[in-house]
């Protein structure tokens, strides 16, 4: 554990010097680096490189813009693994502006941000949480007399990279759910010319944020991502394939209602709407709040919060499949499909009965016809 002294990180000094001054032991620092290397999928052998890259790091600047959001992502981030490492991250990223965390307020805070952006133009990292409202010229979210869209565009101008933190920042999350009254969109819909990484989740796991920042500091670039812009080291696998309850899925052991005996036994939550089979996230491995637990571990089905537009695509959260639009809320595919199938079978049966009756009648009539002419000579050839 770190025992931090309140030593300010001076602009000229490296992170290594700063940690030494703050009383952080070399062992604690290496432990942290090893853990980050493992989270990043580099393996513990990469820890020395991570440590070397981090300790020689000059104090980088981070601007944290909070837009249309609930601050849950900030809460989650400052709860990464151990509080001291959360501190370290906040030190490493040297937050010059963050509405939830900064001490300054009003004009002083805005000035600090403007100064920092001007001074570090082209080199700072922009972390964004929350979505951007676009309807009515974006008046649904204003800070310091300007819409948040203007703030975002100004801040993105000089950013080296953008970390879109949380479901809002990339897909708009709950604000963008149908009918999306404020016209909320994610950062990627506004800013097209900067590298954006998508730390998905509502909220994302703090350690994933930390590891992404460490990756950026170590390698000088954002980690490789999947098609949705999510870092592969964290979002490379499905929850379903890493789940501690997977054995119950394969065995055919399911919770049928939330308070049944099977729920007490910790069986699979597939039947009560778990979206683990459709969700890519490191939740089962990294878990939350110092590996205390995670939603499925606590008996709640996954709601798929790391997937695109999950409020619309993953709901209803306690059913396995989404509702079908246009048929009314209560109508579901199985009802419609089964009715059609039964209807087809019933129609077939009715039609068959009528066909048989019709044929019997017409063949009776045929019987009354006179005998047809005897077979012609050619016919008699036919064996």
């Amino acid at each position: 554990m770190f025992l931090r002294k309140a030593e300010p990180w001076l602009d000229g000094s490296t992170l290594g010097e700063h940690l030494e001054e703050s009383g952080v032991s070399r062992r604690s620092f290496l432990e942290f680096c090893t853990e980050m290397a493992v989270v990043l999928g580099l393996g513990s052998a990469a820890a020395p490189s991570v440590a070397k890259a981090l300790e020689t790091q000059k104090r980088p600047t981070v601007i944290w813009l909070e837009m249309q959001e609930c601050t849950g992502c900030v809460e989650s981030t400052i709860r990464s693994e151990a509080p001291t490492i959360g501190d370290l991250v906040l030190d490493v990223v040297s937050l010059d502006y963050s509405e939830t965390l900064m001490a300054a307020a009003g004009h002083a805070a805005e000035k600090a941000r403007a100064d920092s952006m001007a001074k570090n133009k082209g080199s700072y990292v922009l972390i964004v949480t929350g979505s951007v409202p676009t309807k009515e010229d974006g008046i649904y979210c204003c800070v310091a007399g300007k819409t948040i869209r203007q703030h975002l565009e100004e801040a993105a101008e000089g950013a080296a990279a953008i970390i879109a933190l949380g479901a809002c920042a990339h897909w708009g999350s709950v604000q963008a759910a149908r009918p999306n009254p404020t016209g909320a969109v994610g950062v990627r819909d506004i800013i097209k010319n900067k590298p954006i990484i998508n730390i998905a989740g509502c909220p994302p796991i703090g350690d994933v944020v930390t590891a992404t920042v460490v990756h950026y500091l170590t390698f000088g670039r954002l980690p490789s991502t999947d098609r949705e812009g999510r870092p592969l080291f964290a979002y490379g696998n499905r929850i379903h394939d890493q789940c501690s309850r997977r054995a119950h899925f394969d065995a055919g052991q399911y919770v049928e209602v939330f308070d049944d005996e099977n729920a007490r036994r910790g069986w699979c939550l597939y039947q009560v709407g778990c979206k683990g089979p459709a969700t890519y996230s490191p939740c089962p491995i990294v878990q939350w709040n110092q590996r205390t637990s995670w939603p499925i571990g606590a008996g709640h089905p996954c709601i798929g919060c790391t997937e695109p537009y999950f409020w619309d695509t993953m709901s209803p959260f306690y059913r396995r499949l989404p509702n079908v639009g246009g048929f009314g809320v209560e109508e579901r595919i199985d009802t419609i499909g089964a009715s059609l199938a039964i209807g087809a079978a019933a129609g077939v049966a009715a039609h068959a009965g009528m066909t048989v009756l019709h044929q019997i009648r017409s063949r009776k009539n045929m019987k009354q016809l006179p005998e047809h002419a005897p077979a012609s000579p050619e016919d008699s050839n036919n064996g």
Binding site: D250, G347, V348, A375
Partner: protein
């Protein structure tokens, strides 16, 4: 073709009254190539298996008791589902090959019977089905255009099922073959849950199609007495010389027996 002395025509007392009277020659013509028939039955079996196991996967109605280590129920159902999926893909490959190598009734253009005349025939077929009147029904050597539209819809539906099915299958191995080649699918259908909904919805096509298809095949056999049910086993059906077909004029065909005087023989439409 018979050799030897001519035999007298059959004179069974019940023959003239119990069976519909046919005038003129009847002959058996070869229509459906072996690859088509093989792919038909492979598809029939695998689709039944796929629908049954798919129902269980979507709603596991049996729950196993005891330790998880003692059971592999869902695992087995999924295994059989995926196994049947490989069979339907195999059947699909054969069918696609036969779309290019088959005869005029099996080839690619036959899947799209949307000519002006055929649309009229579709109306006549529908009317005949609704009024139960076989006399107003147009006759076809191959499929009637209404049936062909249903089969084409099943081909399209099965293609959708294969794409969505293998997309979902690929998710267990991110970065693997199926995951990579079907990467474009979830985005198009609104995420993996959207893919699941499509897969689940199109699946209902099969029980609807099965009941109608099996019924209409048996009904056609019952009314027309042309052996169309067994045509999917033997490859051929019977035609009578007085029948007029909309899709193929057998009267002008050089190898049809009532033209050559030979009987019986195989007629292979070109």
């Amino acid at each position: 073709m018979t050799t030897g002395p001519a035999r007298p025509p059959a004179r069974l007392p019940w023959f003239d009254t119990r069976l519909p009277r046919m005038r003129g020659d009847i002959t058996w013509i070869y229509l459906w190539g072996a690859p088509l028939r093989v792919s038909h039955w492979l598809a029939a079996v695998s689709l039944v298996v796929l629908f049954g196991t798919g129902l269980f996967i979507s709603f596991p109605f049996w729950v196993s008791a005891g330790e998880a280590s003692g059971h592999f129920l869902m695992g087995r159902f999924r295994f059989v589902h995926f196994l049947a999926a490989t069979v339907i893909v195999f059947a699909g490959i054969i069918r696609v090959y036969w779309l290019f190598a088959g005869n005029q009734f099996e080839r690619w253009p036959a899947l799209w019977p949307f000519t002006r005349a055929n649309i009229g025939h579709m109306g006549a077929m529908l009317k005949s089905y609704l009024t139960l009147d076989p006399k107003i029904q147009p006759h076809f050597v191959g499929h009637n255009p209404l049936a062909q539209v249903a089969y084409t819809a099943i081909y399209v539906g099965t293609t959708i099922m294969m794409i969505t099915g293998f997309t979902l299958y690929g998710q267990s191995n991110p970065g693997g073959f199926f995951f990579t080649i079907f990467q474009w699918v979830p985005g198009m259908m609104g995420g993996l849950q959207g893919v699941r909904v499509v897969h689940h919805t199109v699946a209902w096509l099969y029980p609807i199609f099965f009941s109608i298809h099996i019924y209409l095949a048996i009904r056609a056999d019952y009314i027309e007495r042309a052996g169309v049910v067994s045509s999917m086993l033997t490859g051929g059906r019977f035609v009578a010389s007085h029948e007029k077909f909309e899709d193929c004029d057998l009267g002008d065909h050089p190898s049809v027996p009532w033209h050559t005087g030979e009987h019986p023989t195989w007629v292979k439409p070109q």
